[in-house]
């Protein structure tokens, strides 16, 4: 038999790779050969499918069967049952919720139904290490058409008309940015195109998935951008912590050069363009555009004042177009499908889709791409599957350390740039961290601030000193030593940080604090006035006690207490010595009578 009739797609993104997908790929190769199927079925490593919580994921086409949490031991059964006999292995299919039926195809799941994949269109569909497969999906035709049929201005006009705004977080209209860079001049005529792949927000991994799953779409878009603005060199600034993405990009760049899609005289035209990688060492501030460019130049990654904006004076003092990975990932789709088709998706002011990395207290941890204007409720309850263990949804944090919290009563807010800004959060790069009733909002604010204190580059005083003082004030509150005056001081300090920091890192650092202080002021008050942490997170405010009415004197708690803080004899009420207690909660886990009270 000469025709491959079945494709076995195995996720080779970072998530699934860390849970053994390379071993699964090897096992498939071995089993297919052992069962004489190697000519009928082929194994394809692919990018992220998005449902990372259920990884490693294997999809078998043409049936489109989606197997989740596959182990190398399951492989022999999949080959002998599904590939040889055509029987889908029911026990490995994805099940949504305990009472739901198994769904064969991933596209039929609740997780996928409300999604619309543009930036992630090829992730989990093609082999990212094969340029031919990318071409098979229509890849590099947008570049060919632009170079041979369109003028640079026509390309820019299409991008403008699509209404796409920067997916890195700030939401600046991309078409305008392209126009500014195209209109700018430099003495020697040199301009640059750069890509911000320094995805640093805690909990965000959409750019990584595009880079790992569809690297050529980024290269093609950057070459188009180079043609549009008049640049012949591109740089991708990517974090060294993304080794798989770096490797796939290196392979993709070599393939594109080999095919002549990068290099001199592309498609026989006068346009020449090449791309180089620059690896960042993992500083959060290098995701800020001026710091990123300073780092590419080989200097210490510190921001500088704007203006001049990068479009006027960027890399090496030349006009530079800098876009985020996800923005570029939309470009070829727009050129292939038309600006109108893109503008028809989403809301009038926020067109297209947005990718979110769902994390925290959510069932379907993973990547989702939804049309702009979809409500937070749809994302969390329908696509995300709600909070695990039946816990109550409390808030969602968007925009990482620069964003804010959206409380449960605003769950019907449509997700677009302007609605999020209006409620004191921001789109950010797309991290969406879900919190349930067990999360303390003061502690969350402190967590993000701690990150900022670590990552502040120290160039300007407001950020270097201000964030540190802010962190100290929050620590004072979570330790139970806060006063009501501290809350006023915090607000004042936040205001100064916003107005006087040099770059966006410092200017947006107070956002998590301010938004929790506004939305969850009662929790702050509880910490300050009642010296109590309502969620039971802040250890210094926590007390474990034993309810004498419920205690049966079984001694189980005393036996398991690691510090010997519990005393009492058999069949007598036990007591916790608060001096010795380290608030680990072990007693509560072991008590069979619900006698341990946390509060």
């Amino acid at each position: 038999m000469n025709y491959v009739r079945s494709h076995i797609l195995v996720c080779a993104g970072t998530g699934c790779t860390s849970s053994d997908s390379p071993k699964i790929i090897a096992a498939f190769e071995r089993e297919l050969a052992a069962q004489g199927m190697e000519k009928e079925a082929k194994v394809v490593q692919t990018g992220c499918f998005g449902l990372c919580a259920m990884g490693p994921i294997v999809m078998v086409y043409p049936e489109g069967a989606c197997y989740t949490k596959v182990t190398p031991e399951d492989v022999a059964e999949i080959v002998s049952e599904h590939i040889v006999k055509g029987r889908i292995v029911q026990r490995l299919l994805h099940v949504e919720g305990s009472d739901a039926e198994a769904v064969t195809s991933l596209t039929d799941t609740k997780f996928y139904k409300k999604q619309l994949r543009i930036a992630l269109r090829n992730c989990g569909v093609i082999n990212p290490e094969s340029i031919d497969e990318y071409i098979g999906t229509g890849g590099y035709t947008a570049l060919a058409r632009a170079l041979t049929e369109q003028t640079p201005q026509q390309v820019i006009d299409i991008i403008k008309k699509s209404g796409i705004r920067g997916r890195g977080g700030a939401g600046f209209p991309s078409g305008l940015k392209w126009q500014f860079t195209a209109d700018a001049t430099s003495d020697d005529g040199v301009k640059y195109v750069a890509c911000n792949a320094d995805e640093g927000d805690p909990g965000a991994f959409m750019d990584r998935s595009v880079l790992e799953g569809d690297p050529h779409s980024l290269l093609e878009a950057m070459a188009i951008a180079g043609y549009a603005v008049g640049a012949c060199q591109g740089y991708i600034y990517i974090r060294a912590e993304y080794p798989i993405a770096v490797k796939r990009l290196e392979i993709a760049i070599a393939q594109a050069r080999d095919y002549g899609f990068l290099g001199s005289h592309i498609f026989g035209t006068d346009f020449s363009f090449d791309i180089e990688l620059r690896l960042g060492a993992g500083a959060f501030v290098c995701g800020e555009e001026t710091a990123l460019m300073t780092s590419i130049e080989g200097h210490r990654g510190e921001p500088r004042t704007r203006p001049p904006f990068p479009a006027v004076k960027g890399l090496f003092q030349r006009p530079t177009l800098l876009n985020n990975v996800e923005t570029y990932a939309n470009i070829t789709w727009i050129l292939n499908n038309g600006a109108e088709a893109f503008a028809a998706i989403g809301t009038p002011k926020s067109t297209g889709t947005k990718v979110f990395a769902l994390g925290g207290k959510i069932t379907n941890t993973g990547l989702v791409e939804i049309p702009m204007g979809t409500t937070l409720r749809t994302i969390i309850e329908e696509i995300g599957g709600g909070c695990p263990n039946g816990k109550k949804f409390k808030a969602a944090q968007t925009g990482g350390p620069s964003g804010g919290c959206i409380p449960a009563d605003l769950i019907d807010t449509p997700i677009d740039y302007d609605s999020l800004t209006a409620i004191g959060s921001m789109m950010g790069s797309g991290g969406l961290i879900v919190m349930d009733e067990d999360n303390c909002m003061v502690d969350i604010a402190k967590f993000f601030l701690e990150f900022i204190v670590d990552e502040s580059c120290g160039k300007c005083a407001p950020c270097r000193i201000g964030t540190k003082r802010l962190h100290e004030l929050l620590t004072k509150i979570t330790d139970g030593n806060g006063t009501l005056e501290d809350l006023d001081t915090i607000e004042e300090l936040c205001h100064h940080l916003k107005s006087s920091s040099l770059c966006a890192l410092g200017q947006t650092a107070p956002n998590p604090v301010l938004s929790t202080l506004t939305r969850f002021r009662d929790e702050y008050i509880a910490h300050v006035v009642d010296k109590r942490c309502p969620a039971g997170v802040c250890k210094n405010l926590l007390r474990y006690t034993i309810d004498p009415d419920k205690c049966k004197g079984c001694t189980l708690c005393a036996k398991n207490c690691p510090t010997g803080a519990i005393t009492g004899t058999a069949r007598a009420v036990h007591v916790i010595d608060q001096e010795k207690c380290i608030k680990c909660g072990t007693c509560m886990d072991h008590c069979r009578f619900g006698a341990i009270v946390k509060g």
Partner: protein, 126 residues
Amino acid sequence: MKSLEELKAIRERMQKQIDIRHNDDDRIRVVVGMATCGIAAGARPVLAAFLEEVEKRNLKHVTVTQTGCIGVCRLEPIVEVHIPGQEKVTYVKMSPDKVPAVVSEHLVNRHVVAEYTIGAADERGR
């Protein structure tokens, strides 16, 4: 250096391969029974013949796939053809030499090859 024509050629060649990964509802599905009974009765050469014909005629929107035992083992190899919006047609006692007729008549021209169907076999059985 690739030219525009070369790009187009690669795209067309690869599109066919990647096509298999879209399980749209509007595709024609040819399902070959491949349980032990089917394989013993010679389903594998039938499956191969379908793949070969579909490839040779460059048919898009056709998926050749397989399934387990349908239950009428005496009539294997069994092939079902699902065309969206139409009732499924079951061909029985298939062999590779019957495949070209099914592909050209049924998949391309949409005329069911009545003599190979389960209905015709039942008639003969009486």
